[in-house]
């Protein structure tokens, strides 16, 4: 039996009627009605990375030839003409034996606030891709609107609350803004970022304070969270200092109507709770004991960084989301099956344990809509079951529980509709790397 690849990223419309999932280099869309689901859209990133590389190599070759000619002209070298006339074809480098597999990931699936647009980032050409969501289209609800490549890989994105502007944080630490409706343009050294860190950016949020002033909050691999004014992005408000390890995830809780709270986590053993406007660390929640028994040999540090006893384990928070109501926050530690839900207590500004839920497989990612938590699992050992778990909040028990019938229905729909779709299968490249957040950990280069 062909195995369908686990779902790497997920987002849902607020009412839960549309669910968008990323499988390898493919987006799939499911419509949920009265507990039943169907596939209503699909898009595959078919861009050949070799073509992108070829373009780059050819451009560099042209530049080098031009440079050589200018040099030789300066020294009145006759061979300048010969260089010009020689027209070599550019050599495209091919990975040698043992070279790591290159994956064409899609990332950061984001739904605009008005739910008219879907935004994703593609590794293949380091682009931000925008789709119109056309609910009336019976063939495919996803209609490609725009594909804008960037010089460095977009690592995190946010969208302004009027859905007009996309804010893009890249792997090199720079932040660019892009108008949703603008034409695709060439972004090179002449396009200046609006702000930047000298470190890989991992998370970005755009937020308004109680006086309606806008800010961009960015987090990086160097423990830094920076609060910058918007649109005056040349004015840094301040840094939120307190992390000692990389930051992987930020979240501004929706239930906090004054918008002054921020959650952050990553390689530290704590979830941090801030008043970001006042630059106050309100409290930290230590999750070490909760997660201890789920930290296994799968978390052993790579050989390069291993200790003499060979027992150094490294783990981190992969993602935090805040739930729409009840002052709840959910997060999980990478490569564990445990979902941890905390409740904010406004009396003393702390986070307290509310609920934990253990799943049959490791959690890959999660997201929320108005009423539900959506969890995707590393189900490659389950014969095309357990792709997704939908959790409902039960008012009677005051706790979350798995909506078994809807989750099973979605699993069945995924298995039956994608079984003929080879793109979505675990193929010769195997499973895409699902646990990459821990790679953000710094180990220090002691020799330099």
């Amino acid at each position: 039996m062909s195995l369908i690849h686990p779902i790497q990223d997920i987002v849902s419309s607020e009412d839960g009627s549309l669910i968008f999932g990323i499988i390898k280099n493919e987006v799939v869309v499911f419509r949920v009605e009265e507990g039943k689901s169907q596939l209503v859209g699909k898009w595959v990133d078919e861009l050949d990375r070799n073509e992108v590389i070829r373009e780059k190599v050819e451009k560099e070759q042209a530049r080098q030839i031009a440079e050589n000619i200018t040099k030789k002209r300066k020294t009145n070298d006759e061979s300048a003409k010969t260089i010009e006339s020689e027209n070599k074809t550019a050599k495209i480098p091919t990975p040698g034996l043992g070279a790591p597999t290159v994956y064409s990931h899609l990332r950061n699936v984001t739904l605009s606030h008005g739910e008219k647009l879907l935004i994703i980032c593609a590794d293949s050409d380091k682009s931000v891709i925008i789709f119109d969501i056309d609910n009336d289209n019976k063939e495919n609800v996803l209609q490609l609107k725009k594909r804008q490549p960037y010089p460095k890989r977009p690592n995190a994105i946010a969208i302004s609350d009027d859905d007009k502007l996309i804010v893009i944080a890249d792997k090199f630490g720079d932040v660019y803004t892009m108008s949703v409706d603008s034409d695709v343009k060439k972004i090179d050294g002449n396009v200046e970022p609006v702000l930047g860190h000298v470190s890989m950016l991992t998370s970005i949020v755009v937020v308004k304070d109680s006086e309606n002033k806008k800010y961009i909050i960015t987090a990086d691999r160097d423990e830094h969270i920076k609060v910058t004014h918007y649109p005056q992005t040349y004015i840094v408000k301040h840094w939120l200092f307190g992390h000692n390890e990389f930051i992987s995830s930020l979240s501004v809780p929706q239930w906090n109507k004054t918008n002054d709270l921020l959650l952050s986590a990553g390689g530290d053993r704590y979830l941090y709770l801030w008043n970001w406007g006042k630059n106050e660390l309100l409290s930290k929640f230590n999750y070490e004991k909760l997660i201890d028994k789920y930290i296994t040999d799968a978390h052993l540090a790579s050989e390069r960084f291993q200790n003499e006893e060979n027992n150094l384990r490294e783990y981190c928070v992969s993602k935090i989301v805040s739930l729409p109501s009840n002052r709840l926050v959910a997060f999980f530690v990478e490569a564990t099956p445990l979902l941890i839900i905390l409740k904010y207590s406004p009396e003393d500004n702390t986070l307290k344990l509310f609920q934990t839920m253990e799943f049959a497989f490791n959690i890959i990612t999660m997201n929320v809509n108005n009423n539900q938590l959506l969890i995707t699992l590393d189900n490659h050992e389950s014969q095309n079951k357990d792709f997704i778990k939908i959790l409902d909040f039960n008012e009677n028990t005051d706790r979350f529980s798995t909506n078994e019938s809807l989750s099973n229905n979605l699993d069945t729909t995924i298995a039956s509709t994608l079984i003929e779709d080879k793109t979505s299968h675990i193929g010769s490249t195997g499973i895409y790397p699902l646990y990459t957040t821990i790679n953000l950990k710094k180990h220090g280069e002691s020799y330099s």
């Binding site: 050294g189 702000l195 930047g196 860190h197 000298v198 040349y234 004015i235 330099s448």
Partner: protein
């Protein structure tokens, strides 16, 4: 080594936040044993201070300021440390050179870990690494994104000094500073009346080297403008 990659994860020591920085080890003369606090804060920095020539010449000119050199290369930092220890030992009677010191660090990444908002009055960037290749331009010490961070640690009216013997880099630095809304270029009259400009032209080892080779030196200085009203 002549260069160091500012993007690497060096094994660096830096405080979690400015308040955690123990300055007493660098400037013991300005540490008050009774209050357990520093009597002064660092107000002048030389980013990429190299062999420390500028620090040493600035020291007697600014006896009321603490001056810090930041350098990313370990060996060079050790050399400057030794140099300052020797100068302090040789000038015990006059308490000379107590107001300068050097720190190994990556200013492009961790400057805000050391300094509070508006703490600095002068920042020097003398003969920075030119990073000629276009794709290396993000490694330059003056970029529009880093300038916003320098503007944060500089007080209003504070000065950024730049000097280089590479004309392309000079044009690049001046362009980015001129385009940044929080900086304004100071004119040649100002430059010729400023003692730091004179020191910067002649004090640094790089400056002397350029002089020996009879090369050009390009200077540009900028004032930190008041932060405009937030819209």
């Amino acid at each position: 080594r002549a260069h160091s990659n500012p993007f690497s994860d060096h094994q660096l020591e830096y405080p979690e936040k400015p308040a955690d920085m123990d300055w007493s080890k660098l400037y013991p003369y300005y540490y008050d044993e009774n209050t357990k606090e520093m009597t002064k804060k660092v107000t002048i920095t030389d980013i990429g201070c190299g062999f420390g020539g500028l620090l040493i010449d600035l020291s007697p000119e600014f006896p009321n300021d603490l001056i810090l050199g930041m350098e990313i290369r370990v060996q060079v930092t050790n050399y400057v440390e030794d140099r300052i220890i020797a100068l302090r030992t040789n000038n015990v009677e006059t308490k000379g050179y107590q107001n300068i010191n050097v720190l190994r660090g990556n200013a492009m990444k961790f400057l805000p870990n050391f300094f509070e908002k508006g703490q600095l009055s002068k920042m020097f960037f003398c003969f920075p690494d030119p990073h000629f290749k276009q794709r290396k331009h993000k490694a330059r010490i003056i970029t529009n994104t880093l300038l916003s961070e320098y503007a944060y640690v500089l007080k209003e009216g504070g000065i950024i000094y730049t000097i280089t013997d590479v004309e392309d880099l000079h044009i690049w630095m001046a362009k980015h500073l001129e385009e940044h809304p929080l900086f304004e270029r100071l004119d040649e009259t100002w430059e010729s009346n400023d003692k730091c400009v004179q020191i910067m032209r002649h004090a640094t080892e790089e400056g002397k080297k350029v002089e020996r080779k009879k090369g050009d030196k390009f200077v540009a200085c900028f004032k930190r403008l008041p932060t405009p009203e937030i819209i």
